[in-house]
Symmetry: C2
Subunit: 130 residues, 2 copies
């Protein structure tokens, strides 16, 4: 928990009990929660936290680069503590998002986009359990 406080401090985020609860959950999650799922989780431990605080904290963590926000699901942004480059596989039956290691997909660095400087790219796969 002290480690967590340090992480926030080092990134210029003043630690508060609410922010710690949000960070604790979202930095450790193995899934890709929406803001509402984070809120539900945090409410279990901190029943008075408000939605605004959860949204503010998530946006703060994104601004500081501690988590990433991704537009993969229809209807809601999801948050992802794995900020290194990787790909995503979306289960078309359950909607669950899985991480795919960067090296698992071989993409030839695309320089093909006339007039554009590509800053980033990743592959979005869709599939279902065999």
């Amino acid at each position: 928990m002290n480690a967590l406080i340090d992480i926030l401090r080092k990134n210029g985020i003043q630690p508060t009990p609410q922010r710690l609860e949000v960070a604790k959950f979202v930095l450790a999650t193995q899934s890709h929660p929406t803001a509402d799922q984070v809120l539900k989780e945090v409410l279990k431990r901190c029943p008075t936290v408000s939605r605004a605080t959860v949204y503010n904290t998530l946006n703060l963590l994104v601004d500081k680069g501690l988590i990433a926000s991704r537009t993969l699901k229809e209807g809601a942004v999801v948050f992802d503590p794995r900020t290194q480059r990787h790909h995503h596989l979306i289960d078309t039956e359950t909607g669950i998002i899985h991480d795919i290691p960067w090296e698992s997909v071989d993409v030839r660095e695309p320089e093909i986009c006339e007039g554009f400087e590509v800053e980033d790219y990743h592959v979005v796969l869709r599939g279902r359990k065999k």
Copy 2:
């Protein structure tokens, strides 16, 4: 226009003036409009059309495979009449989505996803004008 009526009929969609206006615009567009942008365009020619009809028609066209709905923009689904496989480049400054031909990016068919059958995949690139 008769060609359009045929397309709808062949796909089991009863043609109505409202549906024809929606289809005419969304099947011919070079961009990736949101439902609201389609509504605005259709209102120019058919000022009494309702939002619900535009949404219903777009969803109908998606169900029949005549257009695709894509989750690329934060906050709103976009529609795309180009249903063949291709990639997308999102301009990080303007938010404009560009199509990238399938052959322009060389992805080694990923079979790496243990336990999953990949049905589809595409590359999402982000960049800015040089």
